[in-house]
Amino acid sequence: MTWHVSQEMMASYRDNASSDAASHSLELHLIECEPCRRIAYEAVDPDRRDRIWAGITERVDTPRSRWIERALRPFGVPTHIARLIAMTPSVQPSWLVAVAIILALAALAAPNLGPIPFLVVAPLVPVVGVAIAFGHPIDPVHEIGVASPTGGFRLVLIRASAVLMASIAISVVPALFLREFRWMVVWLLPALACTLLVLVISTFTHLSTAAVVVSLLWVAGVTATELAASTPVASFVGLAQLIFAGAVLGLLTLLLLRRTSFERIVGR
């Protein structure tokens, strides 16, 4: 490189006072020459440079908006709550996909095995989801979360609701394979009841323990009812639904009574 751009050349380039060919030359030169690029740098207004950089910083820093956040916004959910929900581990695509596959398998087995496999698994989805979503020791940020203003019961409610809705949403599609309409809905109340039950039990012991307890109780309960009853699928129809409804109301009341225990961490 035997020549460089002078201040005057740069000025006339910037002010559109140089010919095409000259501009071409200059532009090609700048691709290769660092010192001349510095001259170009000086030729741009500093405020403009700073303003552009501020915009870049903001965009670089902005944490990637997950699709969940964008999906929630039309529903009027404030962005910070949407972010909380999106950060919940069991509202992540990988978990949801795994669940969908399991439920699909259970649903597809319906013609042979009846709807029971699906109906037993579906209510447990939010239970496991809630356990994964938070609660020591699975949620590593548990302690900081409880010590925050959002922490405690409010955070639990936000996340549990999100998990419940996500679980129901993901269960609806495999449910369509069950053929009979009533099978597609009878698991909803049990799902709600189980979720509330795991939250209530979590006020007495670790969330993971609570999840295990609820799962075992549920499976045992359904098995026992099915074996003892005269009609098939008795644990889900007729009287059973009324019982579930009652359980939901009762557990909801219990949860509200026990809500202050979410304000503290469990044990040592």
Partner: protein, 288 residues
């Protein structure tokens, strides 16, 4: 957000886990400034800090934080808004970037305005010098950097009460120096409670020291007063002695004794270390 007046007051506070009395009948008032909480493992430091962080309730006694009562729900939220807490074992979502994680905690702290929140995140990352790794995933960070991250989230939103549980664990000396700089230059002079078993941190930073051993306060005063406890009881001798309460070989080949002096011993000025050993007794190992 208005400033809450008031300090931290513990009256008759106790906590037991099963048969173990983690804290017994603690009466304590903590004012603005940096207070060190010194004690061996299992002394009850974390328990006390957790109670001040409102995540643990005492079995007996009452606590007032920033003039409010943490057993009442509305007060608890107000306290938590002005609280910065760095737990002993902070957890992270390992797939988050540094920036995302601090941003998440800021969301938990209810900093709803996005621009304000991002400015705050940048500010605390700058304070702990994590700006250059702001967009790295947490799982790629070393232990020392993660500790700084834990400190950064505690500094969000200029808390009035800052609780740090073993903040310098696993940090090398240079990082510890940086940490001291950050803590000593906090704006607004908050109430800072620093729980540690590193006496150097306490000596360098704290205006006041509380020594907690087996759930009880054994000392409460300035670092100088604490050294004074060991006055007249610390010696240097060429040989090891069996009569001393504690004795160990120092780097220059002599032996330092706390307690009864062996023959040919010379009296020396005590440090806060010596006093700590005296206060904590058998509960403390000599490892530094």
């Amino acid at each position: 957000m208005t400033t809450l007046s008031g300090n931290v007051e513990l009256v008759g506070v106790g906590k037991r886990y099963g048969s173990v009395q983690a804290l017994g009948q603690i009466n304590l008032t903590v004012e603005r400034g940096i207070t060190g909480l010194l004690g061996p493992n299992g002394a009850g430091k974390t328990t006390m800090l957790r109670m001040m962080a409102t995540v643990l309730a005492p079995d007996t006694g009452s606590i007032a934080l920033l003039g409010r009562d943490p057993s009442r729900a509305e007060d608890r939220v107000e306290i938590r808004r002005r609280l910065g807490y760095m737990p002993q074992e902070p957890g992270f979502y390992r797939n988050f970037t540094v920036f995302e994680f601090v941003d998440y905690v800021a969301v938990l702290k209810q900093v709803t305005d996005r621009k304000q929140r991002h400015d705050q995140v940048r500010e605390v990352l700058g304070m702990v010098e994590l700006t250059s790794v702001a967009h790295r995933k947490i799982r790629t960070l070393s232990g020392g950097l993660r500790r700084r991250l834990a400190l950064a989230q505690a500094l969000l939103d200029h808390p009035e009460m800052l609780l740090l549980d073993e903040p310098t664990a696993g940090l090398d000396p240079e990082q510890r120096l940086r940490f001291r700089e950050v803590v000593s230059q906090l704006p607004k002079r908050p109430i800072v409670l620093l729980s540690t078993h590193q006496t150097e941190d306490v000596a360098a930073l704290c205006e006041r020291v509380i020594v907690l051993v087996e759930g009880n306060i054994r000392f409460d005063g300035t670092p100088e007063a604490m050294s004074g406890i060991a006055q007249g009881r610390v010696w240097i001798a060429p040989d090891p002695g069996d009569d001393a309460m504690l004795s160990w070989r120092t780097g220059d080949g002599k032996y330092r004794h706390v307690g009864k002096p062996p023959p040919h011993a010379a009296l020396v000025e005590p440090t806060i270390d010596d006093a700590y050993l005296l206060l904590a007794g058998d509960g403390v190992g000599i490892s530094r």
